[in-house]
C-alpha cells in the first residue's frame, strides 16, 4: 500500500510529462511536415536553423 502511494504518482507524472512533451511538439509545428523531416536529414550544410 505504501509502495502504491509512491508508484501511482510517479506513473501519472511520467505519463503527463509524455503528454506535455507531445502537445508542446505539436504546438511548435513539429508534426506539420513529416515528409520534409524525412528528407531533411540528407541536407549536408543546413545552417543554425
Amino acid at each position: 500500500m505504501s509502495g502504491l502511494a509512491l508508484l501511482i504518482p510517479v506513473a501519472l507524472l511520467l505519463g503527463l510529462s509524455g503528454l506535455a512533451a507531445f502537445l508542446w511538439a505539436l504546438s511548435r509545428g513539429q508534426y506539420e511536415d513529416l515528409d520534409g523531416a524525412a528528407v531533411r536529414i540528407l541536407i549536408d550544410d543546413e545552417g543554425e536553423a
Binding site: L26, D33, D35, V39
Partner: protein, 707 residues
Amino acid sequence: MNDAVASEHVEFVLPGVKCAACIAKIENGLRPIPGVRDARVNFTSKRVSIDHSSEVTAEALRRAIGELGFDAESVSAVAPSADRAESTALLRALAVAGFGAMNVMLLSVSVWAGASGPTRDLFHWLSALIAMPTVAYAGRPFFKSAWAALRRRRTNMDVPISIGVVLATVLSLFETIVGGPHTYFDGAVSLLFFLLVGRYLDCAMRDRARDGVTALMRETAPGATILLPGGNTAWKRAADLEPGMRMLVAAGERFAADGVVEEGESTVDCSLVTGETLPEALSAGGTAAAGTLNLSHPLTVRVTAAGDRTSLAEIMRMMEAAGQSRSLYVRIADRAARLYAPAVHALALLSFGGWMLAGAGWHQSLLIAVAVLIITCPCALGLAVPVAQVVAAGALMRRGILVKDGSALERLAEANCVRLDKTGTVTRGRLQPIGSLSLTPDEKQAVLALARASLHPLSRALAAYLEGQQVMAAPVEDLREHPGLGIEGRLRGARVALGRPSWLGAEAGEGATLQVAFVSGGSTPALLRFADEIRIDARDTIEQLAAMGLDPAILSGDRQEAVKPVAQALGTPALAELMPADKVNTIALLQAAARRVLMVGDGLNDGPALAAGHVSMAPASATDVGQSAADVVFLGDRLMPVAVAVRAARRTRSIVRQNFALAIGYNLLAVPLAISGRVTPLIAAAAMSTSSVLVLANALRLRNCAR
C-alpha cells in the same frame, strides 16, 4: 521604417520541390536576402513560408525564388491553415484520450485483478480524477457535432456516442461516491480514444489529398497590360479590368477578359475553354474569350466583359451550381447512424423500464441501461468506415491516385455509368506525328528551326518530337509567321516554309486539319500528319469499365471529325461539339434516370460536368479547375487508374459492409448479456477491444486493393 512594426509573413506554393536538395537550395538562397528573417520549406504541403520585413516585397521574393529555378505561386494563406486546425485539434484530443485511456486502464486492471475495499475506492477516485477532464477535453469534437445535429433536429453517429460517454461517466462518478463495485471510466475513455483514431485518420486523409491538389493551383490569367489613353501602358490585375479598356496581349499570354480584337492578327488556342485541339485564327473584329491563349502575334483587344462577367466566370458559376447537389450526399456512416441511434436508445430505455418493472430499483436499472449504451456504443462502427477508407486511399496513393475524401470512395463505388472527356483524358492531350516523318536529316533541321519559332500546337508537337530525336536546328533566317497559314524563312538563300497544306500548294489528305506541309526551295511539299495520341491503355480501360457495368461513353467539346476516330478506336458511343452547359445537361438527364455518373475530364470546359457528376476524376495534367472540381486526381500517362479506382472503391465498400456486419454481429452477442445485467466493466472492455481489433484487421485487407 521601424523593423519591429514591419514584420511580414508570406507563403508561396512550390510545385517543383521534389528532394532535399531543393529544400536546401531554396532556404539557403532566401536567407541571405536582406530583409528575410527566416524561410522554411514545408515539403509535405509544397510551400515555403517566409518571415520578412518590409525591406523586401512579396513580389521580389517571388522573383528571387524564380531565379533559384522554381516556380512560386502566391497563396491566400487564410483558408488552408483553417483546415489544418481541425486535424491538429483532433490530434491533441487523441493524445489526451490516449493518456487517459492508458492510465485509467492501468487502474481498472488492478480492480479487476481483485483489489477491494479502500484500495478499490481509491483506484476509482483516481480513475475519476483522470477520466473526467479527459472526457471533457477529448470528447469535445463529438459533443459539438452531436449538439449541432440535435439542434437541427437530426441525429448522427455522434449523438449515441455522446450520450453513452456522458452517461457512463456521470454514473461512474456516482458509483465512486457511493463506493459501488463497478465503474465504467475505462470504457468511456477508451471508447473516445478508438473513435478519435477513426476521426483523425479521416481528417488526415483529406488534408493530404488537399495538399497534393492545392500545390498545383495556379491562376489562369492573373492580369493584362492595359493601354492608357496617353499612350503609356500599365499592368492591371484581372479583377481590376473594366469593359472599354484596351489590353495588349502578347504572343504566349492568356486573355484576362473577354473582348473584341481591334488590331492584329493571330491564332488562339481555345483548348482550355472548349476542349478543341486545333487553334483558331483571330483577326480584327473577332472575339476573344477569357482564358484562351494567344499563340502567334500580339493583339490589341477592347475589353467587353471582365471580372465575373466573362465566359470564364460563367463556367465557374455553372460549376458552383452543379456542385450543390453533391453537398446533399449523406455518408454511409451517417446513414447507418440514422437507423442505429434510435434503435440503441430505444433498447437502453426498454432495459431501464423492464428492470424497473421487475422491481430492480432505479439504481440497478440505470446501471444496466448504461451498460447497454456502452456495449452498443458504435465503437467498431465509428472505426469501420474511416479505417477501411484510409487504408484504401493509402493503397491508391501509392498507385498515383489521390482521393480527396472518404465520401469520394463511397460515391465512386456507387457509380454505374461513366462519361469521359476526349482531349486530355482519353487522349494524352499532346499531338504526335503519325508514323516516321519522310524527311531527310537536312530537312528535319530546317523543320525544327521553323517549328521552334511558333507557339502553334502542331509546331510545338513537331519541335518536341524532333528534339526528342536529337535533331539540331538549322540556321534559318528571316522567320515570319503568317497567322492561320504557317511560318516561313530562308535557309542558305532558299525559301523554307512550314504550314497549312493549302497555303503551300500541297494536296491535303483525309482529316485535313491535323497535318502540316513543308517545302524547301522548289521541291514538292512533304506532308506531315499528326494525331492526338490515345492513351495506350485506353482501350483496355474502356473494356474493363464496360465489364464492370459502367457503360462508358465519350462527351467531347471537340469537332465531330476529331471525336469520331477516337470513338471508333475505342468502340464507345460519343457525343461531340458539346458546350460546357450541354455536358452538364447530358449528365443531369442521366442522373434523372437514376444513373450515377462518374465523370472523367480535365479541361476548364469539363469543370461544370465534373461538379455535376455523382463523382468525378481528373488526370493530374488537368487544368486547375478540373482538379479542384474532381474528387479523385490521378497521375501518369495511363487511363487505367480510372478502372483501378472504381475497383478499389467497390472493394472498400464491401469491406465496410463486412465491418458493419462484424460490429452488428458483436452487438447481437453482447446486448443480451448487457440487458440481462451480466456485463461487468471487464466484459465491456474486452468486447469493445476485440471488435475494434477485428474491424481494423479486416480493413487492412484493403492494403493491396489498388493492384
